[in-house]
């Protein structure tokens, strides 16, 4: 193949030399050899010519390609279809946990502590719906036929209210040893102690006029 034994060493390096893929030291050695070897100079020229032909051929092939909408087509192929919102949220969260684990964990821990402190405070201080008032208050009391009773409203010192119906017959007769029904016979009429309701606040509440059946409503 090569008459000069030195050529055998340099021939494989000619193609990389022409393509500029060789180290500066080897390049100097090859150029020194080329200056002394006509055969290798011819080989290098052939390789250059081949390379030029290839380049021209490729340029011609490229000219034939239609690059219209090239970017959009490439991007359409490299960009995957947009996943659903939930999937994207899941991916975002998993990526956040993957790359910012410390920040995420500390944020979650802070949020959990805040929740643990704030929720009981909020729930504890918040009254249920309809209970904005300080205490239960009786607005009106009415009695219905055929009960012949008069309502007595007693407010207690602990904010409670007792609504008792005093039998009007026994009330008018002033009867009464003991309030609070005992046996069946006694319970038919409400009886009062000797000082019935004497030292407790009582109030008279209006009977509702719009009610068809009410009667009484006062002490």
């Amino acid at each position: 193949m090569a008459g000069n034994p030195a050529c055998e060493r340099f021939i494989p390096l000619l193609s990389p030399y022409i393509d500029g893929e060789i180290s500066p030291t080897e390049r100097v050695n090859i150029e020194r050899h080329l200056s002394a070897c006509k055969a290798c100079t011819g080989r290098a020229a052939d390789l250059r010519a081949e390379s030029g032909l290839l380049r021209v051929g490729l340029d011609m092939a490229v000219d034939e390609v239609d690059f219209k909408d090239f970017t959009q087509k490439v991007m359409a192929r490299v960009t995957p279809e947009k996943p659903p919102l939930l999937e994207r949220l899941r991916l975002s969260l998993s990526e956040m946990f993957l790359y910012q684990r410390t920040a995420m964990v500390s944020s979650l821990a802070t949020a959990a502590v805040l929740m643990l402190v704030a929720v009981p405070l909020l729930l504890g201080s918040r009254a249920p719906t309809g209970y904005a008032g300080e205490r239960m208050t009786v607005q009106a009391v009415r009695t219905y036929e055929p009960a012949k009773v008069a309502p007595v409203v007693m407010e207690t010192d602990n904010g409670s209210t007792i609504i008792w119906l005093v039998d009007q017959d026994s009330h008018s007769h002033g009867a009464s040893p003991a309030l609070g029904g005992g046996d069946e016979a006694q319970s038919d009429e409400l009886e009062m102690e000797e000082a019935p309701l004497g030292n407790v606040p009582q109030k008279t509440l209006p009977a509702k006029k719009d009610d068809p059946a009410p009667k009484g409503g006062s002490l």
């Binding site: 729930l123 309809g130 009391v141």
Partner: protein, 147 residues
Amino acid sequence: MHSTAMLALLSLGLLLSPLAAQAQEQKVKLQVEVVLASNKGDAVEPPELAQMKETFRKQNFSFTSFKRLSLETLELAAEKPTEVRLPNGVNASLKLLGLKEGIATVRVEIPRQSGVDVELGRQGSVYQRAGKHVGGELILVLSPPPK
């Protein structure tokens, strides 16, 4: 762009949901207890009724025994009265009359006996006589619901 609009809609929905809930039917909770007070024995069952016994004693009632017959937390609405069956066969009827400035007014009616309008509050109870039963007096106890 599309997802941004979706997120905006979701946020708006979350913001408006409490308002929508409020616009719905108003309801309040009320604890309703039926207690039999009598002079038969001196049992107080459960022991929590000792406070009720003391309250009645301070008002010169001489009942010695207090027994809880039922305890329930009702949800009262304006449109439809809620009934509580009493042991003496009478159905007590409870209804939300209105809700003004956060204070609910409830009407409690015991047929053929009495009716009461009560403004609900965080403290105290309302004890309403509800008729006779087995030698004692039934008392309807209205209280705020337990937290």
